[in-house]
């Protein structure tokens, strides 16, 4: 059984929602991002999303744009990001890791080789922002052959007629983009989520994660109320970035600040 399925099965049995914190690979440097990554499961992360830095993150707001720039400056490459996951897997075999990013670096790497290497490194899922179902055949066969889930994205603009097409052949979980917008900006109201999630439930039995605009324990709790998981990204990166020195380097507060916030979010009721 895949790590993602095992994780959600376990949480369901325990009657709990999943917390999915996000970090950007190599942000602000490789060692610090690896330390944050290694600390996240102990702080309450159920699954972990790792951003693959890209020069032109069109769906991201200023916070994740800055994270990508720091990561690239610190030498992030896809190969380096896979090696980071590999190092994490030396100590942790259970926590699912999902890589999130944009298509072009994967095309440059070669989609088939990337999926082979990602599986070997211990990656469980991929979220590719600019790969809608209409173009997904570029990646899906190779991901499937290597038992990697390609997580489908559903947006508020995805209407009921389109939903089945978006979710056809999906696996792992479904990621609901809770607002029409970029990361780190608006937050959906509980009423909006209550209206949106049943639309998805009618079409899929997979667990549903909610992302975009989730910043506080209250937001996490609201997501768990209607869905199965909450993704927290920009606010964690913002907290991390606030600890950096004037040169953008990590300080002795950096890792602790992020893990403290993950603990706070994981304690959401």
């Amino acid at each position: 059984m895949s790590r993602i399925k095992a994780c959600f099965d376990q949480l369901k049995a325990a009657g709990r929602g999943a917390l999915i914190p996000y970090l950007e690979a190599f942000d602000p440097d490789r060692a610090t991002s690896l330390e944050i990554l290694r600390g996240m499961p102990g702080a309450g992360a159920d699954l972990i999303e790792i951003g693959m830095p890209f020069s032109d993150p069109m769906a991201d707001g200023p916070t994740i744009q800055a994270a990508a720039i720091r990561g690239l400056k610190a030498g992030a490459t896809l190969r380096g990001t896979l090696a980071l996951v590999n190092d994490f897997r030396d100590e942790n075999q259970n926590t699912p890791v999902i890589l999130m990013g944009y298509l072009n670096p994967i095309l440059a790497y070669g989609p088939e080789q990337f999926c082979i290497d990602a599986e070997a490194a211990g990656v469980d899922g991929l979220i590719i922002v600019d790969l809608p179902p209409e173009e997904a055949d570029l990646l899906l066969p190779f991901a499937a052959a290597n038992k990697i889930d390609v997580i489908r994205l559903v947006a508020p603009t995805t209407d009921d007629a389109r939903l089945p097409q978006v979710l056809a052949g999906s696996s792992g979980f479904v990621y609901y983009i809770s607002i029409a917008g970029i990361t780190g900006t608006g937050t959906a109201t509980p009423e909006q989520l209550e209206a949106a999630i049943p639309r998805l439930r009618a079409v899929t039995d997979l667990p549903i994660a909610i992302g975009f605009g989730i910043r506080t324990p209250a937001h996490v709790a609201a997501a768990w109320e209607v869905a199965d998981a909450a993704v927290v990204a920009s606010s964690l990166i913002g907290i991390m970035a606030a600890t950096l020195d004037e040169q953008g380097k990590a300080t002795d507060k950096t890792v602790d600040a992020v893990l403290y916030e993950v603990r706070t979010l994981a304690a959401a009721q």
């Binding site: 069109m58 209409e134 173009e135």
Partner: protein
């Protein structure tokens, strides 16, 4: 016995106009690589455009504005003094710089603004490099009283001050973009971020033959009037097709516009002139086809300047309008199948051609089309005097005089 020629011949005879296919692909280029939030909107633009295209009323309305507001048809000018100075093929300029707003960009803006109105959109956004597309968009938005926001790289805001002021006079809000190198690529990123956050009321008026399907095909269709007119005008003055068609290529809309009417004429050479910047191998270039590799950016698969890890590289050109690390997908396809040829012209060659064109023809070309002039200056002397070069003079250069003065060491 199977006659091979018999079965393959119809395929060879297929028109290049059959592209793009249902998925918006020109060969392996194009497509719709956008976030799911935008996907339904991109599909609705496609449907709305298909409906408009099939509606004679839409074409009639477009024709009216193109004639009485834009000033079409634009003249075809025999550049006699330049021809004599170069001593080879006869050179004709398609005078797109005489359009209202001073460039070919207005052809596309007029078409898309009419489409946005049909779709009931009440807010327009656009990206701009040199400011020509921004000015054309702001102009049409003023005419139709629609609020508009123009994203422009901060570097370009600096080097294209006259156009920034024009846009503001026209009532547009110009938002400088500081991410990346602050040029056209970054402006396009920011416009896409705006679009994804305002899908309910906003129409993204893309200025070139790039972006997700249907934009590359739609913008081509709106610019194809350049080639249609040129072909008829040249038929009248020379009684034949041109031997070569030359146009500058950034995203590639003016080039596609003039190429389109000649795609299925194999004897007409099509030449796109990329900005080589400081040289094709200087590391500071904007020549996507000559120095790039296929990849995905801004909604389409096409040739891109990128590093081995798939990170997009900054382009460089003296011309803000060509300063982009990608190119429209149809150009990538035409390059691969060998139907069009792509060459590079450096900043310095463009500056020299800018002055040559100004002094011989009394026409100040935009720095973008000065690249085309520079290639014509190389090509014409190698051709016979009875041969004809058709060049798209796609924009006027008034906006560039400060940049040119700076590079010539003149203080104004």
């Amino acid at each position: 016995m199977i006659d091979v020629t018999e079965t393959t011949a119809p395929q060879l005879a297929n028109s290049l106009h059959s592209a793009p296919d249902q998925r918006g692909r020109f060969g392996e280029y194009g497509g719709r690589f956008v976030a799911e939030t935008l996907m339904p909107l991109v599909l609705s633009v496609e449907q709305a455009y298909a409906a408009a295209k099939a509606d004679p009323g839409f074409q009639k309305e477009l024709d009216y504005y193109l004639k009485d507001y834009v000033g079409r048809p634009s003249p075809l000018w025999f550049a006699q003094r330049l021809t004599e100075a170069l001593g080879g093929a006869k050179i004709y300029f398609k005078r797109e710089e005489l359009n209202h707003t001073g460039s070919h960009k207005v052809n596309n803006c007029t078409g898309q603004i009419l489409l946005a109105r049909r779709m009931g959109k009440t807010r327009i956004i656009a990206e701009t490099g040199a400011g020509q597309h921004g000015v054309a968009t702001a102009t049409l938005c003023a005419l139709f009283d629609i609020p508009c926001v123009i994203y422009m790289g901060a570097t370009d805001v600096e080097r294209q001050q006259p156009n920034v002021f024009r846009m503001k006079l026209l009532g547009a809000e110009v938002r400088p973009v500081t991410s990346g190198a602050g040029t056209l690529k970054d402006a396009m990123n920011e416009a896409m971020r705006d679009w994804v956050a305002n899908v309910h009321d906003t129409y993204y008026l893309i200025g070139t033959v790039a972006g997700p399907h249907p934009y590359p095909a739609m913008v081509r269709d709106f610019q194809a009037i350049i080639g249609r007119e040129s072909r008829a005008q040249l038929q009248e003055s020379e009684g034949k097709l041109p031997d070569a068609v030359v146009a500058a290529v950034g995203g590639g809309s003016n080039a596609i516009g003039i190429f389109d009417a000649f795609l299925d004429e194999p004897d007409v050479k099509l030449i796109g002139v990329e900005a080589a910047g400081k040289g094709l191998d200087s590391g500071e270039t904007a020549a996507s086809i000559e120095r790039g590799h296929p990849g995905v950016l801004h909604g389409n698969r096409t040739y891109l300047l990128q590093d081995a890890d798939g990170q997009i590289q900054e382009a460089h050109s003296i011309s803000a309008g060509l300063d982009y690390p990608g190119i429209g997908p149809e150009h990538s396809w035409l390059a691969d199948i060998g139907r069009a040829q792509y060459v590079g012209i450096t900043d310095q060659e463009a500056l020299d051609a800018f002055q040559l064109c100004t002094r011989t023809e009394g026409i100040i070309p935009a720095l973008e089309c000065a690249h085309a002039v520079a290639y014509v200056a190389k090509l014409a002397p190698t051709m016979r005097k009875d041969q004809v070069i058709l060049m798209n003079l796609s924009g006027r250069g008034d906006k560039d005089i400060l940049t040119v003065a700076h590079h010539l060491g003149v203080t104004l």
